[in-house]
């Protein structure tokens, strides 16, 4: 048991890594269109595995000390993109629901609506225009697919997450964990279970809420 035992020690994403079969398009998208600087590259062979092609691993700076990274393998054939859906890594049969295909994505953070619109401008002037913009009062995101078919989202700052919200999310997750361990979980069962948990914990929750309110008043 070390002194680090109970601490939250991670410092966010170091890199989100993806294979590419189109490094030229990938560079045109991330560097030339979006303006993400190339910050690192590693040329290597696969010494650890048999039949591993030579490859290059290259990194773009996406701000806040995070990076997006690609692997390009010399001579490796990409998948057949004429059939089905998905990206160059994950292929799905024709007819797979869009919402499922899009569920795996990377969302990048911008501070303001103006900045979001600047990325919209850059994308719309490129071969990868914005495909979807969700503008819903306090929420604003734009989406496109990069040359590899990976869905990239830009999202502007929502209000900061508050302690009350954490409490609520934790109740939801506790209810979720219980409900999915029973047969046939549904949203309804989740919300019923959550309501039960709230009643069980109402007092404590109320105290926390009141503390949050007094905090706010004091500010």
């Amino acid at each position: 048991m070390t002194s680090l035992h109970d601490e939250h020690l991670v410092a966010g994403v170091d890199h989100a890594a993806f294979p590419t079969f189109d490094p030229a398009g990938t560079v045109r998208f991330y560097r030339d269109t979006l303006g993400f600087p190339v910050v690192h590259s590693i040329c290597a062979a696969g010494w650890g595995a048999k039949d591993h092609p030579d490859f290059i691993h290259f990194f773009f700076d996406i701000g806040n000390e995070d990076r997006i990274a690609f692997f390009y393998y010399f001579g490796l054939e990409g998948p057949d993109l004429t059939q089905g859906a998905g990206d160059v890594y994950a292929r799905f049969p024709e007819g797979t629901a869009d919402w499922f295909v899009r569920s795996r994505h990377l969302a990048l953070h911008v501070a303001s609506s103006e900045e979001l619109m600047e990325y919209r401008r850059r994308l719309d002037a490129s071969d990868w225009p914005v495909e979807m913009q969700i503008q819903h009062e306090t929420i604003e995101s734009i989406y496109t697919h990069d040359p590899n078919g990976y869905m990239i989202e830009f999202t502007r700052a929502l209000r900061p997450v508050e302690p009350q919200e954490d409490l609520d999310a934790n109740l939801t997750i506790d209810a979720l964990v219980e409900v999915v361990q029973q047969p046939h979980p549904t949203m309804d069962k989740l919300l019923v279970r959550k309501a039960e948990l709230i009643v069980q914990r109402a007092e404590k929750w109320q105290e926390a809420q009141q503390a949050a309110v007094s905090d706010e008043v004091r500010r």
Binding site: R159, Q164, E165, D168, T172, A195, A202
Partner: protein, 262 residues
């Protein structure tokens, strides 16, 4: 106006289970709109007693209610319990409206969301009111939270009355005379607007226009403010008769422009 095609709008209402007034007064008000037709779709959060514990539990039913009401594909959802939000913490309506908007956006619904609490602030600001007076049905501790909430939003609550009715069913039966009596007893010196029912359950629609004529200042209620906010969210003109000057605001501005005043 009569040449314009009548537009149709679906209004989602999320109300405390014991509330009967929202679903009565909002349709009464909006039914008088000349350029639009509305349909109303409700869902309920369990609550019978207006206590902090019940209010907290009720707020937690929000997610379920939004899922239910969004299934009906409304244009605007009114989250219809003012005190549930105002008692939960300062600026709570912004937090909750933000969470609901996010929930709707995440599920791909284009519905807008408004709350009674946010609508009251929006209406007071539309009237240019700064110093205000209030009539509320609540017990004193809850009433004090409502006053603190409004003051935190920048209003000067000059005077207020709390009728101290805790049972929410009973709130719906508060006699009009009691409400008018409370309104008359308020110190209205320098007051810009009177909120004759700072509660979506306390009936007051019929009193709004009468009180405005008698007391000589703009009078609004949680219901007229809610209707105002719904009309704005739908992008419709606000011009409805017999419900206080708030709901005639676009007609009044139009008249002012014609007479050359500002």
């Amino acid at each position: 106006m009569s040449a314009v095609a009548v537009s149709r709008h679906r209004i989602g209402l999320v109300v405390p289970s014991s509330n009967v007034t929202v679903e009565t007064e909002i349709p009464q008000i909006l039914g008088r709109h000349t350029a639009a037709r509305f349909s109303y779709h409700s869902t309920r959060m369990r609550m019978s007693k207006v206590s902090p514990e019940q209010l907290a539990a009720m707020n937690a039913q929000r997610e379920r209610c939004i899922i239910e009401i969004a299934d009906a594909g409304p244009d605007v959802i009114l989250y219809g319990c003012l005190v549930a939000l105002m008692s939960a913490g300062l600026a709570e309506h912004r937090r909750v409206e933000g969470l609901v908007a996010e929930q709707l956006a995440t599920g791909g619904s284009a519905a807008k969301v408004r709350s009674s609490a946010g609508a009251l602030l929006e209406a007071l600001r539309a009237l240019g009111a700064q110093r205000i007076a209030l009539v509320m049905p609540y017990a004193r501790p809850l009433a004090e939270r409502v006053v603190a909430y409004l003051e935190h939003e920048g209003f000067d609550v000059h005077d207020w009355r709390a009728l101290e009715v805790e049972d929410n069913h009973a709130v719906a039966r508060i006699p009009a005379a009691d409400v008018m009596g409370a309104a008359r007893s308020l110190d209205r010196e320098g007051v810009d607007a009177l909120v004759i029912s700072c509660c979506v359950q306390m009936p007051s629609l019929d009193l709004v226009e009468t009180a405005e004529q008698e007391l000589g200042l703009p009078v609004l209620s949680a219901a007229t403010a809610g209707a105002y906010s719904i009309l704005r969210a739908c992008g419709l003109p606000v011009d409805i008769p017999y419900a206080g000057s708030l709901l005639r605001i676009d007609a009044l501005h139009h008249a002012e422009l014609r007479s050359g005043s500002q």
